[in-house]
Symmetry: C2
Subunit: 202 residues, 2 copies
């Protein structure tokens, strides 16, 4: 019976190891949560100041979007005008307990839609897949691009089509660019188009 | 000229804020790197002990794979036999400076291929996209499934087809399952099939 008991002994030892690992993981999760919270607080006053400064620069966000080599490809002429009313961007990462992020776009009163803020949000669904949601856009009468008669060649890719597209969140390259490139340093993209004028005074 | 200078002043202030944010991000990156290294060290002895224990349980990994509801769907009968020679799994996350991970599968001498370890690796390519690579499998003569005559209905999904598939790394659900579910607690999947026998002695 020694031979029969041995695998059970190994399994019991393995279970003990898993419990030890679990304790380490819980401690790690707490430590990372604390560190994230600490740096979230550290960033906040700078981000608030950045947000206030940007509001003084008309067309900052639409310019930064248009100057990004990949984002510009999905901004139609109509998008460009709608995005010229964008006043603020906010990217918020959720904690480790709920991985995901929310991208919020703030707008001033504009002739396209009624929302003053729209959000696209990415979270893990119950199956473990990344899923996305977005605020329904309340277009003004006749402004919904899907209901407008369309002439000429097929419509180019559009910012608002991306915004409402939830077909493949894990491969949402636009969200990734906004989160990883534009949000950390929007100024560099804003300035890209200003080459001829040189960098701002220091 | 006050009106002309104002945007430049805001841009200069914005640049100063970006530099401050950059300093915070560098400090954050250092702090997270330190914390990751600390917990990597904390986990190591437990993972080494787990690895040694698992080697004493024949067929541990193939059983854990087969008992995972989603992984089992991509294990053909031939895969099952090949995976019965798998002795060890290793999942290694790269640092933040080089996001990605490497999954290594260790095998004992077997009639299918010559490698004793094969790895599938995920890294960010220069364009920012996730790309994957894997070790070329040195099949023994006549064992490469791609060169074997195939009878009957289309081949089911296969572990080795997944291993060599680099068409869409960002959506590699199998890698995600191995990394996020199997690796943290393989024992729970190993035991799933043992329901009738009850949990191991404690």
């Amino acid at each position: 019976s020694e031979g029969l008991e041995t695998p059970t002994r190994y399994l019991a030892a393995l279970e003990a190891v898993q419990l030890e690992l679990e304790a380490v993981e819980e401690e790690a999760a707490r430590a990372f949560r604390r560190l994230r919270a600490r740096f979230c607080l550290r960033r906040r006053p700078h981000l608030q100041r950045r947000n206030r400064l940007i509001q003084h620069i008309p067309g900052f966000w639409v310019t930064a979007f248009l100057n990004h080599p990949q984002l510009s490809a999905m901004i139609s002429d109509r998008d460009e005008d709608a995005l010229s009313y964008m006043t603020s961007l906010q990217v918020e990462e959720f904690g480790q307990s709920r991985p995901g992020c929310r991208i919020r776009f703030f707008f001033s009163v504009n002739p396209y839609f009624q929302n003053d803020v729209v959000a696209k949000e990415f979270v893990r669904g119950p199956s473990g897949h990344l899923v996305s949601h977005s605020t329904p856009i309340r277009w003004w009468q006749g402004q919904d691009p899907r209901s407008r008669p369309h002439k000429g060649p097929p419509a180019p890719r559009s910012f608002f089509a991306w915004f409402g597209d939830h077909s493949f969140p894990a491969g949402d390259r636009v969200a990734e660019i906004i989160k990883e490139e534009l949000w950390p340093n929007p100024l560099q993209f804003y300035l890209l188009g200003e080459g001829a004028e040189g960098p701002p005074d220091r």
